[in-house]
């Protein structure tokens, strides 16, 4: 769990768009759980009423319980893209599709499949903007702790997400 103090304050959701911020990962697999640690930090920040912050564990399909006409979904997950540990990526879902990037999962249905399935089944998501905030992991192994570099990246990830909703 990140112990870093957060100097950030939640802003207004100026765009007035219904937004779901979903963390995904497994807390017992070291850096694989970084998305959930980011959610822990976001949960301590007052959010506008039209923003849901959701801990999905390693089951992104559990988003179906939170699809109240969202206009934007922000998924936070560990993403291996060859960068330095802790490097943060902002990826558009459509970009993932066109470039054939897969978000592998440690459990059940992988994140890209889950998002694709939800988009296909629920018309309410047809025009929904889907952004993935990916954090390059260092160690994915059995541990409840994050690597030092990943812990240090959490504040920047939170800042980036707050910019996304403001």
């Amino acid at each position: 769990m990140s112990e870093r103090p957060l100097p950030l304050k939640g802003g207004e959701n100026k765009s007035h768009r219904n937004t779901v911020i979903a963390g995904v990962g497994n807390r017992l697999l070291g850096d694989e759980g970084v998305g959930l640690h980011v959610i822990d930090n976001l949960s301590q920040i007052p959010m506008p009423s039209n923003v849901d912050v959701v801990d999905c564990g390693c089951d992104l399909l559990s988003l179906i319980s939170h699809l109240n006409k969202p206009q934007k979904i922000i998924v936070i997950d560990a993403v291996r893209a060859g960068g330095k540990p802790g490097e943060i990526y902002r990826l558009d879902y459509n970009e993932l599709k066109t470039r054939g990037i897969e978000m592998q999962s440690s459990h059940q249905v992988r994140a890209t499949d889950a998002l694709g399935l939800l988009k296909q089944i629920y018309p309410v998501l047809a025009d929904c903007e889907i952004i993935i905030i990916g954090i390059e992991p260092k160690a994915i192994e059995l541990s409840p702790e994050l690597s030092k570099e990943i812990t240090e990246s959490i504040t920047d990830a939170v800042r980036l997400i707050l910019e996304e909703i403001s």
């Binding site: 497994n26 017992l28 564990g57 089951d59 399909l61 559990s62 459990h107 059940q108 399935l117 089944i121």
Partner: protein, 430 residues
């Protein structure tokens, strides 16, 4: 003739997982199934922790089986300290576990199994042709999440279920709302049985199976029980689970393999139905007959059909429990008091994939000194290898391109906690 078939999966847990089949002189020489899971992985996470820290950590082993891990973990702690919970707590805990069963079976059937059997590469591809059916599957999964949210306080990783009871109890309004959703869910589960009855199930992995499942003293089919029953007729107290599992470290796997009398055995929905079919609820019993399960107990590919039957059962049983709670009224009782003592306890639950055991030892201050978690997937590994061997022997003349997907189908029928990984295979033939 093939010499070797290697199916490596791409998993985020590096270096774990995959199927290797070696063939010598036209015969199967070796079949290895390697996965990430096993007791030695989980113990370091909790040794030295206080008794009340254990369940919140170990319930996170799996998001889909979170309710079963929670219940097994809490019961192991309670048994170690000699705590007996109220009948209301037992009912609420059972409801929570049924929520997990509904969620897991719906997800497995609609996102992995039905696409497999109808030759679609994914649930997304299936959804493009059959959006109504896939949406119904996701609504059933959502129903499972809703039950867990109402009872456990969260859709996954319950916060309300605690040692000795529940920190927060559901309201009458929540139970009434749940009842309405369960009625709709029951209809959807019967449509699911119709869909599954239309799937053509191949017989290439048919071979005799020894089954194991928990057995309750009550009249009903249950996901709980103090005894372990085997299809051989043997019965044990759950505290003797190690005698059944006889875990052995095998060179090719990161998990230990469970064998009974040096032979593999299977746990899961098909095992439960094989052992307790007479105790099934009304609609579930009709579904079992419709799917012809009793005639196919030697074919693990029917585990998928057994999950469809259990989807019906878990919804029917959830309706019964909800009615019972509404009739009696929710008592505002507090969790039982915990008095720590040195001791050992076992908790066992039928998780979606089969029997799950948690066993802990504590010192007199309630610090955990030893932990053993045996997952259903770990118990099934040796049986999966047996079925893979039979399948390769039956299909050895087929081209590799068609053989590999069939082997994956066998593994997936067990609904292992690596089903994602097996869906992510890279096939490299050598």
């Amino acid at each position: 003739m093939h010499n070797s078939i290697i199916i490596n999966h791409i998993c985020r847990v590096e270096g774990h997982g995959g199927i290797t089949v070696n063939i010598k002189d036209g015969k199967v020489a070796e079949v290895n199934m390697d996965i990430f899971e096993g007791p030695r992985f989980f113990e370091p996470l909790v040794v030295g922790r206080a008794y009340d820290e254990v369940a919140p950590i170990l319930m996170r082993i799996c998001a889909i089986c979170s309710a079963a891990h929670t219940a097994a973990s809490l019961m192991a702690v309670e048994n170690a300290f000699g705590i007996t919970v109220s009948s209301q707590t037992r009912l609420l805990r059972e409801l929570l576990v049924h929520g997990g069963n509904i969620e897991s079976h719906a997800l497995h059937l609609f996102c992995l199994v039905i696409p497999d059997f109808l030759d679609y590469p994914s649930a997304i591809a299936l959804a493009s042709d059959h959006p109504k059916e896939v949406k119904m599957g996701l609504e059933l999964k959502k129903l499972g999440n809703t039950i867990q949210e109402a009872i456990g306080g969260r859709a996954i990783h319950s916060v309300n279920a605690v040692i000795g009871g529940f920190g927060k109890l559901p309201t009458k309004e929540q139970l009434l709302e749940l009842k309405e959703q369960l009625k709709k869910g029951l209809k959807q589960s019967l449509v699911t049985v119709d869909l599954v009855s239309g799937l053509q199930v191949p017989d290439f992995c048919t071979s005799p199976n020894v089954y194991a499942a928990l057995s309750s003293d009550g009249a009903g089919y249950s996901l709980f029980g103090d005894k372990i029953a085997l299809s051989t007729g043997d019965t044990w107290d759950i505290n003797m689970y190690k005698e059944l599992c006889e875990e052995k470290v095998v060179a090719h796997s990161h998990a230990k393999h469970s064998r009974f009398n040096d032979k593999p055995f299977a746990v899961g929905a098909l095992a439960r139905i094989a052992l307790n079919e007479e105790k099934l609820s009304w609609e579930a019993k009709k579904a079992k007959k419709r799917l012809g399960l009793s005639s196919h107990l030697d074919n693990m590919l029917y585990n998928n059909a057994a999950q469809a039957v259990e989807l019906v059962y878990s919804i029917e049983r959830s309706m019964e429990i909800t009615d019972e709670l509404l009739t009696a009224g929710i008592k505002q009782e507090k969790p039982m008091e915990v008095k720590t003592q040195a001791g050992t306890g076992t908790g066992a639950v039928e998780a979606p994939r089969g029997t799950l055991y948690h066993n802990y030892s504590f010192d007199e201050k309630g610090r955990l000194t030893e932990a053993d978690v045996i997952t259903p997937t770990a118990q099934n590994l040796a049986n999966i290898e047996k079925d893979l061997r039979v399948s390769v022997e039956n299909l050895i003349d087929q081209p590799k391109e068609s053989l590999a997907p069939k082997l994956e189908m066998v593994v997936r029928a067990y609904d292992p906690c690596i089903s994602c990984a097996v869906h992510l295979v890279e096939v490299n033939f050598e």
